[in-house]
């Protein structure tokens, strides 16, 4: 159940060029969040930015409350890309933040025993929600494809190494790993994976990346869920501003914030977007 909650900044630190890690003490959200869900965060810049910003939950931990902490922490890994996120980089310890969350439908875990074979494909900050997922799934065979424009955009590799994942890295400029997009890399490695639906694929990244995945993957080869990134206004289904075209004739437009952000790959009308 989502809550309108107040969070307290525990830490906000620069972890690389344009990337920041924000830890927030927010027990109402940390208590119930699942991988793939997100929060709407009000950037404290007066009334300049009316809309809250959506951020995937990177980490979520519950702990015993202390005098200074309420017992639950969420972490957001964000990239400074515009006015709102630039303002966020100024957030200081103990500063109060307005949050709504956790929101949306998270990733559906695969039924056992298929959970032993998981493929994660993340582009840019899209990899963030897949870390939370991987830590929950405890997969025996975890294959992770991470992509970015340059080596500085390769995020969370250390997290996946700790989980003993088979890690594949792609950069568009070739500064780290495979030269090309993460989807190019994934398709070049397809021969590794049996064609028997025993692998579950989860992917998050820009729409163009997910479209390439959808267009290039053989139908029914994998059970595949994708988490979409889009502009949002309310974040909880009231405004219908974040819709995506689907293959469902009954509901041709569905809300990324409410019915998503995670959808089965085949549920999205990729030609329409």
């Amino acid at each position: 159940m989502a809550a309108q909650a107040e969070g307290i900044v525990l830490e906000n630190r620069n972890i690389g060029p344009f990337y920041f890690l924000l830890d927030i003490d927010c027990e109402p959200i940390a208590r119930v969040a699942v991988p793939g869900q997100f929060v709407m965060l009000k950037v404290p810049d007066g009334d300049r930015s009316l809309l809250r910003r959506p951020f995937s939950i990177y980490r979520c931990s519950r702990r015993f409350p202390t005098q200074t902490r309420k017992g639950g922490q969420i972490s957001i890994l964000y990239k400074q890309v515009g006015r709102g996120t630039l303002k966020m980089t100024d957030l200081k310890k103990n500063q109060t933040l307005g949050l709504i969350g956790p929101l949306g439908q998270g990733y559906l875990p695969p039924p056992l025993p298929s959970s032993k074979s998981i493929i994660l494909i993340g582009g840019g900050v899209g990899i963030v929600s897949l870390v939370f997922l991987a830590e929950k799934l405890h997969a025996e065979n975890l294959f992770v494809f991470i992509g970015g424009k340059t080596e500085h955009d390769i995020l969370c590799a250390r997290d996946f190494n700790r989980l003993r994942a088979h890690l594949f890295v792609a950069t568009e400029d070739g500064s780290s790993g495979f030269k090309g997009t993460v989807i190019d890399l994934f398709f070049s490695e397809l021969g590794r994976f049996k064609n028997d639906q025993s692998y579950y694929v989860y992917s998050c990244g820009p729409m163009a990346m997910l479209r390439r995945l959808a267009k290039g993957i053989e139908p029914n080869r994998f059970v595949c869920q994708v988490s979409l990134e889009t502009r949002m206004a309310c974040g909880f289904g009231a405004c219908w501003g974040c819709v995506v075209k689907t293959t469902d004739p009954e509901t041709p437009y569905q809300r990324v914030c409410k019915e998503g952000p995670v959808f089965p790959l085949e549920h999205i009308a990729w030609d329409a977007e």
Partner: protein, 82 residues
């Protein structure tokens, strides 16, 4: 000083509302989206988004664009059937 709750009821045409507090159309979905954040019984009325006899898909995205201190939304929303 009386502790009784004042009568805030109002009449609008045939409707009698327990108070005149209403949400503006288009800002509040169909009401149910706000159930987790607000006791809807506190409101005098909800003015929902448009409802049509047959469902309407609405316009394709993008539908929203943020501006300084506000945002613009393309106003041809998805409508469920009656």
């Amino acid at each position: 000083m009386s502790s009784s709750i004042p009568d805030l009821s109002v009449r609008i045409g045939h409707l009698k509302l327990k108070n005149p507090v209403m949400v503006a159309s288009g800002t509040f979905g169909f009401g149910e989206e706000f159930q987790e954040f607000l006791d809807l019984d506190l409101l005098g009325a909800i003015i929902p988004k448009g409802i049509s006899l047959r469902p309407m898909a609405g316009n394709p995205p993008p539908r929203i664009f943020e501006t300084e201190g506000g945002y613009v939304k393309l106003h041809r929303p998805s409508k469920p059937r009656l």
